[in-house]
Subunit: 226 residues, 2 copies
Protein backbone atom coordinates (compact mmCIF):
# COMPACT_ATOMS: atom_id res chain seq x y z
CA UNK A 1 0.00 0.00 0.00
CA UNK A 2 2.83 2.40 -0.65
CA UNK A 3 1.01 5.59 -1.59
CA UNK A 4 3.30 6.56 -4.45
CA UNK A 5 2.16 10.12 -4.77
CA UNK A 6 4.68 11.03 -7.42
CA UNK A 7 5.70 7.66 -8.76
CA UNK A 8 8.23 8.07 -11.56
CA UNK A 9 6.63 5.16 -13.45
CA UNK A 10 3.77 7.44 -14.44
CA UNK A 11 2.99 11.09 -14.06
CA UNK A 12 -0.57 10.48 -13.04
CA UNK A 13 -0.73 13.37 -10.65
CA UNK A 14 0.60 15.73 -13.25
CA UNK A 15 -2.02 14.64 -15.72
CA UNK A 16 -4.76 15.13 -13.18
CA UNK A 17 -3.59 18.68 -12.52
CA UNK A 18 -3.40 19.41 -16.22
CA UNK A 19 -6.92 18.11 -16.72
CA UNK A 20 -8.31 20.12 -13.84
CA UNK A 21 -6.70 23.23 -15.25
CA UNK A 22 -8.18 22.60 -18.68
CA UNK A 23 -11.62 21.98 -17.19
CA UNK A 24 -11.51 25.07 -15.03
CA UNK A 25 -10.19 27.21 -17.86
CA UNK A 26 -12.89 25.94 -20.18
CA UNK A 27 -15.66 26.83 -17.78
CA UNK A 28 -14.32 30.24 -16.87
CA UNK A 29 -13.37 31.28 -20.39
CA UNK A 30 -16.86 30.35 -21.54
CA UNK A 31 -18.32 32.46 -18.74
CA UNK A 32 -16.08 35.51 -18.85
CA UNK A 33 -14.15 35.37 -22.10
CA UNK A 34 -10.42 34.83 -22.48
CA UNK A 35 -9.44 38.26 -21.21
CA UNK A 36 -11.93 38.13 -18.35
CA UNK A 37 -10.86 34.73 -17.04
CA UNK A 38 -7.79 35.38 -14.93
CA UNK A 39 -5.24 32.69 -14.24
CA UNK A 40 -5.92 33.29 -10.58
CA UNK A 41 -9.58 32.42 -10.95
CA UNK A 42 -8.77 29.44 -13.13
CA UNK A 43 -6.17 27.97 -10.81
CA UNK A 44 -8.32 28.54 -7.75
CA UNK A 45 -11.20 26.73 -9.39
CA UNK A 46 -8.87 23.94 -10.42
CA UNK A 47 -7.63 23.62 -6.84
CA UNK A 48 -4.06 24.61 -7.64
CA UNK A 49 -2.10 27.81 -8.06
CA UNK A 50 -0.55 30.15 -10.56
CA UNK A 51 2.77 28.37 -10.71
CA UNK A 52 1.17 25.08 -11.69
CA UNK A 53 -0.56 26.63 -14.68
CA UNK A 54 2.64 28.15 -15.96
CA UNK A 55 4.55 24.95 -15.30
CA UNK A 56 2.14 22.86 -17.38
CA UNK A 57 1.25 25.28 -20.14
CA UNK A 58 3.87 28.02 -20.14
CA UNK A 59 1.47 30.91 -20.49
CA UNK A 60 -2.15 31.88 -20.29
CA UNK A 61 -2.47 32.06 -24.04
CA UNK A 62 -1.09 28.56 -24.47
CA UNK A 63 -3.61 27.32 -21.93
CA UNK A 64 -6.41 28.93 -23.90
CA UNK A 65 -5.15 27.34 -27.09
CA UNK A 66 -5.01 23.97 -25.38
CA UNK A 67 -8.62 24.38 -24.25
CA UNK A 68 -9.73 24.84 -27.84
CA UNK A 69 -7.52 22.14 -29.35
CA UNK A 70 -8.48 19.48 -26.82
CA UNK A 71 -11.94 19.02 -28.32
CA UNK A 72 -11.61 20.59 -31.72
CA UNK A 73 -9.02 18.13 -32.96
CA UNK A 74 -11.22 15.07 -32.40
CA UNK A 75 -14.17 16.92 -33.93
CA UNK A 76 -12.27 17.68 -37.09
CA UNK A 77 -10.88 14.19 -37.35
CA UNK A 78 -14.40 12.87 -37.06
CA UNK A 79 -15.60 15.23 -39.76
CA UNK A 80 -12.87 14.18 -42.16
CA UNK A 81 -13.43 10.51 -41.38
CA UNK A 82 -17.14 10.82 -42.13
CA UNK A 83 -16.37 12.73 -45.30
CA UNK A 84 -14.01 9.99 -46.47
CA UNK A 85 -16.66 7.38 -45.78
CA UNK A 86 -19.37 9.30 -47.59
CA UNK A 87 -17.17 9.89 -50.60
CA UNK A 88 -16.22 6.24 -50.78
CA UNK A 89 -19.86 5.19 -50.56
CA UNK A 90 -21.24 7.62 -53.11
CA UNK A 91 -19.09 6.81 -56.11
CA UNK A 92 -18.54 9.28 -58.91
CA UNK A 93 -21.53 11.48 -58.16
CA UNK A 94 -20.19 12.45 -54.75
CA UNK A 95 -22.21 12.77 -51.54
CA UNK A 96 -25.47 14.72 -51.60
CA UNK A 97 -25.73 18.23 -50.22
CA UNK A 98 -27.70 17.03 -47.21
CA UNK A 99 -25.05 14.44 -46.44
CA UNK A 100 -22.25 16.98 -46.62
CA UNK A 101 -24.00 19.54 -44.46
CA UNK A 102 -24.90 16.88 -41.93
CA UNK A 103 -21.29 15.78 -41.72
CA UNK A 104 -20.03 19.34 -41.36
CA UNK A 105 -22.52 20.41 -38.73
CA UNK A 106 -23.31 17.25 -36.81
CA UNK A 107 -20.00 16.55 -35.07
CA UNK A 108 -19.63 20.08 -33.72
CA UNK A 109 -23.12 20.36 -32.38
CA UNK A 110 -23.36 16.84 -31.06
CA UNK A 111 -19.83 16.31 -29.87
CA UNK A 112 -20.22 17.47 -26.32
CA UNK A 113 -22.96 15.04 -25.49
CA UNK A 114 -20.83 12.83 -23.28
CA UNK A 115 -19.07 15.73 -21.58
CA UNK A 116 -20.21 16.62 -18.07
CA UNK A 117 -21.69 19.94 -19.16
CA UNK A 118 -23.04 18.65 -22.45
CA UNK A 119 -20.28 20.49 -24.23
CA UNK A 120 -21.92 23.85 -23.70
CA UNK A 121 -18.80 25.58 -22.47
CA UNK A 122 -16.62 24.33 -25.27
CA UNK A 123 -19.25 25.14 -27.88
CA UNK A 124 -19.51 28.69 -26.62
CA UNK A 125 -15.75 29.22 -26.68
CA UNK A 126 -15.43 27.65 -30.10
CA UNK A 127 -18.26 29.67 -31.57
CA UNK A 128 -16.73 32.88 -30.31
CA UNK A 129 -13.17 32.04 -31.22
CA UNK A 130 -13.44 32.82 -34.90
CA UNK A 131 -14.24 36.47 -34.25
CA UNK A 132 -11.95 36.74 -31.24
CA UNK A 133 -9.80 39.86 -31.06
CA UNK A 134 -6.69 37.95 -30.04
CA UNK A 135 -5.04 37.03 -33.35
CA UNK A 136 -3.07 34.11 -31.90
CA UNK A 137 -6.21 32.38 -30.77
CA UNK A 138 -7.99 32.97 -34.05
CA UNK A 139 -5.11 31.62 -36.05
CA UNK A 140 -4.82 28.63 -33.80
CA UNK A 141 -8.47 27.85 -34.48
CA UNK A 142 -8.24 28.53 -38.17
CA UNK A 143 -5.18 26.32 -38.43
CA UNK A 144 -7.22 23.42 -37.09
CA UNK A 145 -10.02 24.22 -39.49
CA UNK A 146 -8.13 24.94 -42.69
CA UNK A 147 -7.82 21.38 -43.93
CA UNK A 148 -11.46 20.58 -43.28
CA UNK A 149 -12.59 23.73 -45.07
CA UNK A 150 -10.53 22.86 -48.12
CA UNK A 151 -11.81 19.31 -48.26
CA UNK A 152 -15.41 20.37 -47.83
CA UNK A 153 -15.05 23.11 -50.39
CA UNK A 154 -14.14 20.54 -53.02
CA UNK A 155 -16.97 18.25 -51.97
CA UNK A 156 -19.52 21.06 -51.97
CA UNK A 157 -18.42 22.20 -55.38
CA UNK A 158 -19.33 18.77 -56.75
CA UNK A 159 -22.71 18.83 -55.04
CA UNK A 160 -23.44 22.37 -56.22
CA UNK A 161 -21.93 22.55 -59.71
CA UNK A 162 -24.04 25.51 -60.78
CA UNK A 163 -22.35 27.89 -58.31
CA UNK A 164 -19.34 29.95 -59.25
CA UNK A 165 -16.27 29.30 -57.07
CA UNK A 166 -16.64 32.74 -55.57
CA UNK A 167 -20.29 32.33 -54.70
CA UNK A 168 -19.61 28.92 -53.20
CA UNK A 169 -16.87 30.31 -51.00
CA UNK A 170 -19.19 32.98 -49.68
CA UNK A 171 -21.89 30.47 -48.96
CA UNK A 172 -19.44 28.29 -47.06
CA UNK A 173 -18.52 31.37 -45.07
CA UNK A 174 -22.19 31.98 -44.33
CA UNK A 175 -22.61 28.36 -43.28
CA UNK A 176 -19.69 28.54 -40.87
CA UNK A 177 -21.09 31.77 -39.47
CA UNK A 178 -24.50 30.32 -38.87
CA UNK A 179 -22.99 27.35 -37.13
CA UNK A 180 -20.57 29.38 -35.05
CA UNK A 181 -23.22 31.77 -33.88
CA UNK A 182 -25.60 28.95 -33.07
CA UNK A 183 -23.16 27.06 -30.91
CA UNK A 184 -21.83 30.24 -29.33
CA UNK A 185 -25.04 30.24 -27.39
CA UNK A 186 -28.37 31.66 -28.28
CA UNK A 187 -28.40 34.44 -25.79
CA UNK A 188 -30.67 36.30 -28.15
CA UNK A 189 -33.31 33.65 -28.30
CA UNK A 190 -33.50 33.36 -24.58
CA UNK A 191 -33.46 37.12 -24.07
CA UNK A 192 -35.98 38.14 -26.69
CA UNK A 193 -38.32 35.19 -26.68
CA UNK A 194 -38.06 33.95 -23.15
CA UNK A 195 -38.22 30.18 -22.90
CA UNK A 196 -40.17 29.65 -26.10
CA UNK A 197 -37.38 27.57 -27.55
CA UNK A 198 -35.73 24.47 -26.22
CA UNK A 199 -32.02 24.99 -26.70
CA UNK A 200 -31.16 21.60 -25.29
CA UNK A 201 -32.63 19.26 -27.84
CA UNK A 202 -29.47 18.93 -29.91
CA UNK A 203 -30.83 16.35 -32.33
CA UNK A 204 -33.63 18.50 -33.62
CA UNK A 205 -31.31 21.51 -33.55
CA UNK A 206 -29.01 19.69 -35.96
CA UNK A 207 -32.00 18.85 -38.16
CA UNK A 208 -33.14 22.45 -38.19
CA UNK A 209 -29.67 23.71 -38.97
CA UNK A 210 -29.19 21.23 -41.79
CA UNK A 211 -32.51 22.19 -43.37
CA UNK A 212 -31.72 25.88 -43.17
CA UNK A 213 -28.19 25.51 -44.49
CA UNK A 214 -29.18 23.23 -47.36
CA UNK A 215 -31.77 25.76 -48.41
CA UNK A 216 -29.25 28.59 -48.26
CA UNK A 217 -26.45 26.72 -49.98
CA UNK A 218 -28.66 25.59 -52.84
CA UNK A 219 -30.53 28.87 -53.29
CA UNK A 220 -30.95 29.86 -56.93
CA UNK A 221 -28.83 32.72 -58.23
CA UNK A 222 -31.87 34.52 -59.62
CA UNK A 223 -34.49 35.65 -57.15
CA UNK A 224 -37.69 33.75 -57.78
CA UNK A 225 -40.72 35.68 -58.99
CA UNK A 226 -43.27 33.61 -57.09
Amino acid sequence: MTETISDPIDTKQGLVTKQSLLDAAEALIAERGVAGASLRAITTRAGTNLAAANYHFGSKQALARAVIARHLQPINSERLRLLDEAEAASGDAGPSLETLVGIFVGPVVRFGRELPDGGRHFAQICGRAMTQPDPMLRESLLGELAEAIRRFRAAFSRALPELSPEELLWRIQFMVGTMAHTIAGSQMIEAVHGDELDTRDLDSLVDRLVRFLCGGLSAPMEVSQS
Copy 2:
Protein backbone atom coordinates in the same frame (compact mmCIF):
# COMPACT_ATOMS: atom_id res chain seq x y z
CA MET B 1 -12.69 87.79 -32.33
CA THR B 2 -13.27 86.73 -28.76
CA GLU B 3 -12.19 83.14 -28.78
CA THR B 4 -14.93 81.83 -26.51
CA ILE B 5 -13.32 78.51 -25.76
CA SER B 6 -15.95 77.46 -23.27
CA ASP B 7 -18.89 79.62 -24.21
CA PRO B 8 -21.90 78.77 -22.06
CA ILE B 9 -24.20 79.29 -25.08
CA ASP B 10 -23.09 75.93 -26.42
CA THR B 11 -20.97 73.10 -25.16
CA LYS B 12 -19.23 72.61 -28.45
CA GLN B 13 -15.87 71.71 -26.99
CA GLY B 14 -17.46 69.11 -24.76
CA LEU B 15 -19.21 67.55 -27.71
CA VAL B 16 -15.99 67.38 -29.68
CA THR B 17 -14.27 65.57 -26.83
CA LYS B 18 -17.15 63.15 -26.51
CA GLN B 19 -17.02 62.41 -30.21
CA SER B 20 -13.28 61.86 -30.19
CA LEU B 21 -13.67 59.46 -27.30
CA LEU B 22 -16.37 57.52 -29.13
CA ASP B 23 -14.28 57.37 -32.29
CA ALA B 24 -11.18 56.23 -30.48
CA ALA B 25 -13.09 53.68 -28.43
CA GLU B 26 -14.75 52.31 -31.55
CA ALA B 27 -11.45 51.77 -33.31
CA LEU B 28 -9.67 50.25 -30.34
CA ILE B 29 -12.52 48.01 -29.24
CA ALA B 30 -12.81 46.68 -32.77
CA GLU B 31 -9.10 45.95 -32.77
CA ARG B 32 -8.60 44.55 -29.29
CA GLY B 33 -12.02 43.74 -27.90
CA VAL B 34 -13.73 45.48 -25.01
CA ALA B 35 -11.52 43.97 -22.35
CA GLY B 36 -8.37 44.52 -24.36
CA ALA B 37 -8.99 48.19 -25.08
CA SER B 38 -7.89 50.07 -21.98
CA LEU B 39 -9.27 53.46 -21.13
CA ARG B 40 -5.72 54.70 -21.13
CA ALA B 41 -5.19 53.66 -24.74
CA ILE B 42 -8.56 55.06 -25.74
CA THR B 43 -8.06 58.44 -24.14
CA THR B 44 -4.53 58.75 -25.49
CA ARG B 45 -5.77 58.06 -28.99
CA ALA B 46 -8.58 60.57 -28.49
CA GLY B 47 -6.06 63.18 -27.35
CA THR B 48 -7.48 63.48 -23.84
CA ASN B 49 -7.11 61.68 -20.57
CA LEU B 50 -8.71 59.24 -18.16
CA ALA B 51 -10.62 61.87 -16.26
CA ALA B 52 -12.36 63.15 -19.38
CA ALA B 53 -13.68 59.71 -20.25
CA ASN B 54 -15.11 59.24 -16.80
CA TYR B 55 -16.50 62.75 -16.78
CA HIS B 56 -18.41 62.22 -20.04
CA PHE B 57 -19.44 58.59 -19.73
CA GLY B 58 -19.11 57.62 -16.08
CA SER B 59 -17.41 54.29 -16.69
CA LYS B 60 -15.69 52.20 -19.29
CA GLN B 61 -18.72 49.97 -19.68
CA ALA B 62 -20.99 52.95 -20.33
CA LEU B 63 -18.55 54.17 -22.97
CA ALA B 64 -18.67 50.79 -24.68
CA ARG B 65 -22.46 50.84 -24.60
CA ALA B 66 -22.47 54.30 -26.12
CA VAL B 67 -20.20 53.11 -28.92
CA ILE B 68 -22.72 50.44 -29.87
CA ALA B 69 -25.82 52.60 -29.45
CA ARG B 70 -24.48 55.51 -31.48
CA HIS B 71 -24.86 53.67 -34.77
CA LEU B 72 -27.22 50.86 -33.88
CA GLN B 73 -30.12 53.13 -33.03
CA PRO B 74 -30.23 54.82 -36.43
CA ILE B 75 -29.84 51.43 -38.11
CA ASN B 76 -32.80 50.01 -36.28
CA SER B 77 -34.93 53.09 -36.91
CA GLU B 78 -34.13 52.74 -40.57
CA ARG B 79 -35.08 49.07 -40.55
CA LEU B 80 -38.41 49.77 -38.90
CA ARG B 81 -39.12 52.68 -41.22
CA LEU B 82 -38.46 50.53 -44.28
CA LEU B 83 -40.62 47.78 -42.83
CA ASP B 84 -43.50 50.21 -42.29
CA GLU B 85 -43.17 51.41 -45.85
CA ALA B 86 -43.06 47.91 -47.29
CA GLU B 87 -46.08 46.82 -45.28
CA ALA B 88 -48.05 49.85 -46.36
CA ALA B 89 -47.16 49.23 -50.00
CA SER B 90 -47.90 45.52 -50.06
CA GLY B 91 -51.47 45.46 -48.81
CA ASP B 92 -53.00 42.38 -47.23
CA ALA B 93 -50.51 39.90 -48.60
CA GLY B 94 -47.62 41.51 -46.76
CA PRO B 95 -44.12 42.06 -48.15
CA SER B 96 -42.36 39.22 -49.93
CA LEU B 97 -39.65 37.21 -48.27
CA GLU B 98 -36.96 38.83 -50.40
CA THR B 99 -38.18 42.27 -49.42
CA LEU B 100 -38.14 41.45 -45.73
CA VAL B 101 -34.69 39.93 -45.78
CA GLY B 102 -33.38 42.85 -47.78
CA ILE B 103 -34.77 45.27 -45.24
CA PHE B 104 -33.35 43.34 -42.33
CA VAL B 105 -29.88 42.85 -43.76
CA GLY B 106 -29.34 45.90 -45.94
CA PRO B 107 -29.17 48.70 -43.37
CA VAL B 108 -26.64 46.90 -41.17
CA VAL B 109 -24.30 45.94 -43.94
CA ARG B 110 -24.59 49.16 -45.87
CA PHE B 111 -24.87 51.64 -43.05
CA GLY B 112 -21.22 52.44 -42.59
CA ARG B 113 -20.70 53.57 -46.14
CA GLU B 114 -20.41 57.22 -45.31
CA LEU B 115 -18.33 56.67 -42.19
CA PRO B 116 -14.60 57.39 -42.49
CA ASP B 117 -13.66 53.73 -42.10
CA GLY B 118 -16.56 52.40 -44.14
CA GLY B 119 -18.20 51.23 -40.93
CA ARG B 120 -15.82 48.33 -40.56
CA HIS B 121 -15.02 48.97 -36.92
CA PHE B 122 -18.60 49.34 -35.87
CA ALA B 123 -19.65 46.29 -37.88
CA GLN B 124 -17.02 44.17 -36.19
CA ILE B 125 -18.02 45.30 -32.71
CA CYS B 126 -21.68 44.84 -33.45
CA GLY B 127 -21.21 41.39 -34.92
CA ARG B 128 -19.26 40.27 -31.89
CA ALA B 129 -21.51 41.91 -29.33
CA MET B 130 -24.23 39.30 -29.32
CA THR B 131 -21.88 36.59 -28.12
CA GLN B 132 -19.91 38.91 -25.84
CA PRO B 133 -19.11 37.56 -22.39
CA ASP B 134 -20.07 40.78 -20.62
CA PRO B 135 -23.79 40.42 -19.88
CA MET B 136 -24.40 44.16 -19.58
CA LEU B 137 -23.16 44.78 -23.10
CA ARG B 138 -25.14 41.89 -24.52
CA GLU B 139 -28.33 43.05 -22.89
CA SER B 140 -27.77 46.58 -24.03
CA LEU B 141 -27.50 45.32 -27.59
CA LEU B 142 -30.47 43.01 -27.27
CA GLY B 143 -32.54 45.81 -25.82
CA GLU B 144 -31.96 47.82 -28.99
CA LEU B 145 -32.80 44.81 -31.11
CA ALA B 146 -35.83 43.43 -29.32
CA GLU B 147 -38.49 45.55 -30.97
CA ALA B 148 -37.12 44.98 -34.45
CA ILE B 149 -36.99 41.24 -33.89
CA ARG B 150 -40.60 41.16 -32.75
CA ARG B 151 -41.81 43.23 -35.69
CA PHE B 152 -39.88 41.15 -38.20
CA ARG B 153 -41.02 37.94 -36.62
CA ALA B 154 -44.63 38.87 -37.32
CA ALA B 155 -43.82 39.94 -40.86
CA PHE B 156 -41.86 36.77 -41.58
CA SER B 157 -44.62 34.62 -40.24
CA ARG B 158 -46.95 36.08 -42.87
CA ALA B 159 -44.42 35.54 -45.63
CA LEU B 160 -43.70 31.98 -44.48
CA PRO B 161 -47.08 30.68 -43.30
CA GLU B 162 -46.12 27.03 -43.63
CA LEU B 163 -43.54 27.22 -40.83
CA SER B 164 -44.43 26.44 -37.23
CA PRO B 165 -43.77 29.34 -34.84
CA GLU B 166 -40.92 27.40 -33.30
CA GLU B 167 -39.24 26.62 -36.59
CA LEU B 168 -39.59 30.24 -37.68
CA LEU B 169 -37.98 31.49 -34.49
CA TRP B 170 -35.03 29.19 -35.02
CA ARG B 171 -34.62 30.31 -38.58
CA ILE B 172 -34.64 33.95 -37.52
CA GLN B 173 -31.97 33.07 -35.04
CA PHE B 174 -29.93 31.45 -37.81
CA MET B 175 -30.43 34.52 -39.97
CA VAL B 176 -29.19 36.85 -37.26
CA GLY B 177 -26.22 34.58 -36.70
CA THR B 178 -25.25 34.54 -40.35
CA MET B 179 -25.49 38.30 -40.48
CA ALA B 180 -23.60 38.87 -37.24
CA HIS B 181 -20.78 36.58 -38.21
CA THR B 182 -20.53 38.09 -41.66
CA ILE B 183 -20.23 41.66 -40.44
CA ALA B 184 -17.96 40.66 -37.57
CA GLY B 185 -15.31 40.29 -40.21
CA SER B 186 -14.43 37.38 -42.37
CA GLN B 187 -11.14 36.58 -40.78
CA MET B 188 -11.71 33.03 -41.90
CA ILE B 189 -12.12 33.84 -45.54
CA GLU B 190 -8.99 35.89 -45.61
CA ALA B 191 -7.01 33.37 -43.61
CA VAL B 192 -8.06 30.20 -45.38
CA HIS B 193 -8.58 31.45 -48.90
CA GLY B 194 -6.16 34.32 -49.15
CA ASP B 195 -7.47 37.16 -51.25
CA GLU B 196 -9.80 35.08 -53.34
CA LEU B 197 -12.78 37.06 -52.14
CA ASP B 198 -13.45 40.74 -52.24
CA THR B 199 -14.80 41.67 -48.83
CA ARG B 200 -15.25 45.31 -49.76
CA ASP B 201 -17.97 45.15 -52.36
CA LEU B 202 -20.84 45.63 -49.96
CA ASP B 203 -23.56 45.73 -52.59
CA SER B 204 -22.89 42.30 -53.94
CA LEU B 205 -22.29 41.05 -50.41
CA VAL B 206 -25.83 42.11 -49.52
CA ASP B 207 -27.12 40.35 -52.62
CA ARG B 208 -25.30 37.17 -51.74
CA LEU B 209 -26.50 37.28 -48.16
CA VAL B 210 -30.11 37.88 -49.19
CA ARG B 211 -30.03 34.95 -51.62
CA PHE B 212 -28.55 32.63 -49.02
CA LEU B 213 -30.93 33.70 -46.29
CA CYS B 214 -34.03 33.51 -48.47
CA GLY B 215 -33.04 29.98 -49.42
CA GLY B 216 -32.53 29.01 -45.79
CA LEU B 217 -35.66 30.68 -44.47
CA SER B 218 -37.88 29.12 -47.11
CA ALA B 219 -36.31 25.68 -47.04
CA PRO B 220 -38.88 22.86 -47.08
CA MET B 221 -39.44 20.95 -43.86
CA GLU B 222 -38.95 17.60 -45.59
CA VAL B 223 -35.56 16.92 -47.09
CA SER B 224 -35.90 16.61 -50.84
CA GLN B 225 -35.19 13.24 -52.42
CA SER B 226 -33.61 14.65 -55.56
